[in-house]
């Protein structure tokens, strides 16, 4: 009997060991991440137009969606379901891989209404934690970044193309832009001009502004008396333009700058490329729908905290009553967090500024502590509604404030 029991035990132990060793293999190994996401989306959710790209430790997923928003710009439920399916596929792959991925970023872009996009950004360890019930679902939703917006770069690009199309049709618009689109509409025979875009580069300057650097090839027939210009601008010459796009501006195209201009009886030119390079791109998603670079924890936390600031003053009934939040932005530069917000007291409540800063600093300290984030030296909090009132705390002080070892009165 004992021998029999020993055999049973040995067999059971063997089975368990075999099972456990088999369990060690990741379901989606490194090198097959893109393929795995595509396969899951296609096989399980019937989505075959998904594109995937890994940039460093960030998984970028792009899906074009027809009718992401309705004509009245309301979010479409059906499109939402598709995004959810892709997000589930991303979660499944990123949690069951041995690849050291940190972030995922999902971009869903409307194919009908140009420029409308939904971006979902998340930290993969947060997905693991919520699945392990280590953090609540409420906390998880605070941790992911959801942006539903018009992409100023894409909208600008579209507008630029429409503009050049219009020019080529010899519209009245071309006549009105003669002086700006120098020189073909000055030296060319009406109706002979044709401008072809060869390259567009764009930069997001803010949530609503973008800067486009456009290269063109321009063909024309010289107007009588302008034949000599063909020596300087031979038909089919290369030209460049800078377009400043502002979505809040009526015509969207706020400013156009041409490479060539005529001044003091001579033809001059500007270095537009250098000018373009001088501007910083604040956008995360490129025209192709993928992140422009690998995401980092500092940036992710700055964005998350700026959104949390919004939610504090918008979701807490009492705070919403007492204060008015106009904006909230966050960034990290040279290891320094900067949170700029516009929160005003509705009824000039006494000590209102203390409440604002106290709540924001406390929340910031807690978030950074929860992520055990060490890659910063301090944080700056600026309230533009209070004459740019600024509070700076070093990393150590932020932690002390979180532990109630520093009072807000000492900071203001």
């Amino acid at each position: 009997m004992n021998a029999c029991l020993k055999k049973y035990k040995a067999l059971i132990a063997l089975l368990i060991l075999a099972g456990l060793s088999a369990c060690n293999k990741p379901s989606y190994p490194t090198g097959k991440i893109e393929e795995s996401v595509l396969k899951l989306c296609k096989n399980e959710y019937k989505l075959d137009n998904v594109q995937v790209k890994v940039i460093g430790s960030t998984l970028g997923v792009y899906i074009p969606v027809e009718g992401l928003v309705s004509p009245d710009l309301k979010f479409n439920e059906k499109a939402g379901k598709k995004i959810e399916d892709v997000a589930i596929s991303i979660h499944r792959v990123t949690t069951s891989t041995d690849m050291p991925l940190k972030f995922y970023i999902l971009t869903a872009r409307d194919t009908k209404t140009v420029g409308v996009e939904f971006i979902l950004t998340g930290f993969i360890y947060d997905v693991v934690r919520v699945r392990l019930y280590d953090i609540s679902r409420g906390e998880y939703f605070q941790r992911i970044l959801r942006d539903f917006r018009f992409n100023p770069a894409i909208t600008g690009e579209q507008k630029a193309r429409e503009l050049f199309d219009g020019l080529n049709k010899n519209s009245a618009l071309a006549e009105s832009l003669k002086s700006i689109l120098y020189p073909v509409y000055i030296i060319g025979k009406p109706g002979s001009q044709k401008i072809e875009i060869t390259d567009i580069e764009s930069k997001e300057l803010s949530e609503r502004e973008s800067l486009l650097y456009i290269k063109t090839i321009e063909a024309y027939e010289p107007s009588p008396g302008f034949e000599a210009y063909t020596a300087v601008f031979p038909p089919g010459f290369n030209n460049e333009y800078l377009f400043l796009i502002d979505l809040s501006f009526g015509n969207t195209i706020k400013e156009i700058v041409s490479k060539y201009f005529y001044s003091n009886n001579e033809i001059r030119q500007r270095n537009l490329k250098d000018t373009f390079e001088q501007y910083k791109d604040s956008g995360i998603i490129g025209i192709d729908g993928f992140p422009k670079k690998d995401l980092d924890m500092g940036w992710f936390l700055s964005q998350q905290i700026s959104r949390r600031i919004k939610s504090i003053f918008e979701e807490d009934k009492k705070l919403k009553n007492d204060f008015k939040l106009a904006s909230s932005q966050g960034e990290i530069k040279d290891l320094l967090f900067q949170f700029k917000f516009n929160i005003a007291s509705n009824n000039n409540k006494a000590g209102g500024h203390k409440i604002i800063f106290s709540r924001i600093i406390k929340m910031t300290g807690t978030v950074l502590h929860l992520y055990a984030f060490e890659g910063y030296e301090g944080a700056e909090f600026i309230n533009s509604a209070e004459n740019e009132k600024k509070v700076y705390l070093s990393k150590k002080d932020l932690e002390r404030f979180r532990k109630n070892e520093i009072k807000i009165e000492g900071l203001l």
Binding site: Y8, L15, A22, Y28, S96
Partner: protein
């Protein structure tokens, strides 16, 4: 061969079918679980594995609660018996290990032969042995002998104690007997035979009582079931041999148990005799490191009436004492101390005045000298004035060999030894202490019995007068008998007084030694007597 293998496999299945089905189910479940796990994504696999310890813990807790509730409320567990089932060869106690009971061993050997040759016996129509009863005092190796029988016969051995059958609920004991025999029959089916050993059989084998109040009903029903199982109407006769062990007298057991067909053979296992004790000492001493100069014969003589278990205990105790004394081997001193500790109890020194101590020394010396000079059968092994239990001093003596009768000379010598303490006290101090109370009780009891019971008076009174009611005896007879008793005591007193007066220097010498050393061992006592020219080598232990 194939048939036996088939029978063994079938027996194995019959016996363990629940375990086999559970084991098989567990394996299938594990395979299914692993299959299921493999179909999970690695995150969920890891999650499941991580949760396994707590899941197992919770499952164990739930199972524990369920079993507890089941045992408490559904009674399913009350009749469950904890049987110690072992294969004969695994018992691993052989004939050569059974020592100190040569006669019992011979009888048991016959039983083994009978068990082995039952097929032959059945063929010639002989009656198959059913039960074997081992009777004897505790610690004499009844269980040991039963185990040796199991080993030699090479058949399974189920051991239970009689008390394991008894329960407060009526019927539980009987259910346990049924289960026990069912198991034994299954084993007998597979192995050809099976031994059930019931230790302390008297717990369920006492004579049945019939009370109108219903008392003893549980014991009765347990015993009835045992009787039925042993020789009742069974569908098929299996080779199940029951060995019972008890230290109760035969009359205590129910007659139905002892009739042929049940415990039809009895083996008496008594305490070992001198030769057997020597073997026992030799056997157990080999298990410890001991001084090769130890005289095993002397130890055996010293350990008269001791059971093998007591001897084993003595040697273990000696080993402990040796360890405590930081000695590598067990010597005679440790064995002597162990025996003394077992026989006389632990020493605990009482604070006595010098006079008291001197009185005790004279008292014990009185016993010692009389014992040495006059006792025909006993040897003095030790004299001590260290208090133990209630006694302030002691003279340890043992008969040189087993004596099962006492003659007149021995009893008179016993009386004189008892009086010795009194005489020594009176001679030295002119007064006596109450330390003589127990001695006088012995003296009176023995002298009285000599006259009243066993016809040992010089006046020639024969017969046991104690069985006649006192009022039927004439006053004059009683007076004469008592006068004889008195005469014996006085005669002994005179002899002792004469002896001690004559040997007073020896007495004083022993007192001096005792006061100095507090204890005198056999060798020291013998040396002093030798020194005084009184040694009698004829009485000297080997």
């Amino acid at each position: 061969m194939a048939f036996m293998t088939y029978r063994k496999l079938r027996m194995h299945f019959m016996e363990h079918w629940v375990k086999i089905i559970i084991g098989f189910t567990i394996i299938i479940l594990i395979i299914l679980s692993i299959w299921g796990m493999m179909s999970l994504e690695s995150f969920y696999r890891k999650l499941t594995i991580a949760q396994m310890p707590i899941s197992i813990l919770l499952a164990g807790l739930n199972a524990g609660i369920f079993v507890f509730m089941y045992m408490i409320f559904l009674q399913g567990g009350f009749s469950k018996i904890k049987q110690t089932t072992v294969k004969g060869q695994n018992v691993n106690i052989h004939w050569e290990d059974v020592i100190g009971m040569e006669e019992a061993k011979q009888e048991a050997l016959e039983v083994v032969e009978l068990i082995k040759d039952r097929t032959k016996l059945s063929k010639i129509g002989g009656k198959i042995l059913r039960g074997l009863l081992l009777v004897g005092p505790p610690g004499c190796g009844k269980t040991y002998l039963a185990k040796a029988i199991a080993t030699e016969a090479g058949i399974p051995f189920i051991s239970m104690s009689g008390s394991e059958f008894t329960e407060i609920f009526v019927g539980v004991g009987a259910a346990r007997v049924r289960k026990l025999f069912k198991k034994a029959r299954t084993l007998a089916y597979g192995h050809g035979a099976c031994i059930i050993f019931i230790d302390e059989l008297d717990a369920i084998g006492r004579q049945r009582t019939f009370s109108f109040m219903g008392g003893g009903q549980e014991t009765n029903s347990t015993q009835n079931q045992l009787l039925v199982e042993m020789d009742g109407l069974q569908e098929k006769d299996y080779n199940v041999i029951i060995i019972g062990a008890t230290n109760a007298a035969e009359g205590v057991l129910d007659e139905a148990l002892l009739r042929p067909g049940r415990f039809d053979r009895k083996i008496y296992i008594d305490r070992p005799n001198l030769q057997e004790r020597e073997k026992v000492f030799d056997y157990y001493l080999k298990k410890v490191k001991y001084d090769r100069d130890i005289d095993i014969g002397r130890l055996a003589r010293q350990a008269v009436h001791k059971s093998p278990a007591e001897i084993e205990n003595m040697i273990k105790e000696a080993a402990l004492i040796a360890t405590r004394n930081k000695k590598d081997i067990v010597g005679h001193k440790e064995l002597s101390e162990a025996m003394e500790r077992i026989d006389m109890g632990l020493k605990h020194r009482k604070h006595m005045t010098k006079e008291e101590k001197e009185m005790v020394a004279f008292h014990e010396t009185g016993h010692l000298v009389v014992m040495y000079m006059l006792h025909p059968t006993d040897d003095v092994f030790k004299a001590s004035i260290i208090s133990r239990k209630e006694a302030l001093g002691v003279v340890h003596h043992q008969p040189r060999e087993e004596l099962y009768t006492n003659n007149k000379e021995k009893i008179l010598a016993d009386i004189k030894v008892s009086i010795g303490g009194y005489v020594a006290e009176k001679t030295r101090f002119g007064t006596t202490s109450d330390g003589v109370a127990m001695d006088f009780r012995n003296v009176m009891w023995k002298a009285h019995n000599m006259v009243w019971m066993v016809g040992m008076s010089d006046a020639g009174y024969i017969g046991d007068y104690t069985i006649i009611p006192k009022f039927q005896l004439s006053e004059s007879l009683k007076e004469r008998l008592n006068a004889e008793t008195d005469k014996i005591i006085k005669s002994c007193l005179k002899d002792v007084e004469d002896l001690l007066k004559k040997e007073w220097p020896i007495v004083e010498r022993f007192v001096k030694e005792l006061l100095e050393k507090e204890e005198l061992e056999y060798d020291e006592i013998e040396a002093i007597f030798k020194e005084c020219g009184k040694s009698h080598n004829c009485k000297k232990p080997a």
